[in-house]
Amino acid sequence: MNAPVEAYIIVAAILFFIGVVGVIARRNPLIQLMSIELLFNSANLALVTFARSWANNAGHVFAFLVITVAAAEAAIGLAIVVIVFRKTTFVDVDEVATLKG
């Protein structure tokens, strides 16, 4: 650990809120999904930092589970993007205004 804990947590917070801005402000669902991956990763960075800080590897296990859930989320989110694109010509979340299949 070659920097204080606070520095790692601040970097994680910066990454998290960059991802938040991406999810809110972008309209391309693919870029929104990638911003969600940024959110997962910043949470993981915080978990790993605290695991190192307390020398307790429960944080590592938790980060491992988060990676698994992120993989499942990416697969399902991209499947939804694919079926939406089959119905419409747009790749734009604003255009998806109906739940009808």
Binding site: N28, E37, A51, R52, F64, T89
Partner: protein
């Protein structure tokens, strides 16, 4: 410390590039840089197994999935035609919310005293904190039930993806595909 600063700047710059890029392919490249820098950061935090998993699962599997979907969607059509912008000023509340949340976290950190534990041994040594053996022992003894639930989550994801994006219900014949022109801007939805 210099290494951490370089990694942090690399992660933040690539994250901003990911969020602001015009095309999703550029975002994927930015995200790749971000993931690799994050994996190196994990190594500085004694999380060597997670560093490898970060490269293999994120950079290897998830980003390839993104690239694959981008290639699938943009084949034969004009890629990523945006519709009319219904929320043109969504950036302003997003940035306000982001800055406010970040300020809240900074205030919370400034009120906390951290005392990192001292770990004997470097990253990569056998049987110190964060080694693969240490992580595996924790995963397969203390946290065995979460590990098993992970397998269930992945199975649900597989079944869900097949149900969502599978071509048709089993037993029916596949509908005839419409041949597409190379570039045909407003293409008809595929008849199903």
């Amino acid at each position: 410390m210099i290494g951490f600063v370089v990694l942090a700047l690399l992660m933040i710059a690539s994250a901003i590039f990911t969020v602001t890029a015009k095309k999703p392919v550029y975002s994927v490249v930015g995200l790749l840089v971000n993931f690799i820098a994050l994996a190196i950061t994990y190594l500085t935090l004694h999380a060597e197994f997670l560093a490898v998993i970060q490269i293999v699962v994120y950079s290897g599997a998830i980003l390839i999935l993104f690239v694959f979907v981008i290639a699938l969607l943009s084949s034969g059509t004009k890629p990523f035609e945006p519709g009319p912008n219904r929320m043109p000023r969504a950036v302003i509340p997003a940035v306000i919310f982001g800055v406010a949340g970040f300020a809240a976290i900074v205030v919370a950190i400034s009120k906390t005293v951290f005392a990192p534990a001292v770990i004997a041994g470097a990253t990569g040594d056998a049987n110190v904190f964060g080694s693969v053996a240490d992580f595996g022992t924790a995963l397969f003894t203390t946290n065995l039930l979460p590990f098993e639930v992970t397998a269930f989550v992945l199975m649900v994801a597989i079944v869900g993806v097949v149900l969502l994006a599978g071509d048709e219900a089993p037993g029916r014949r596949a509908p005839k595909r419409i041949a597409r022109e190379p570039i045909s801007p407003p293409r008809e939805p595929i008849a199903r």
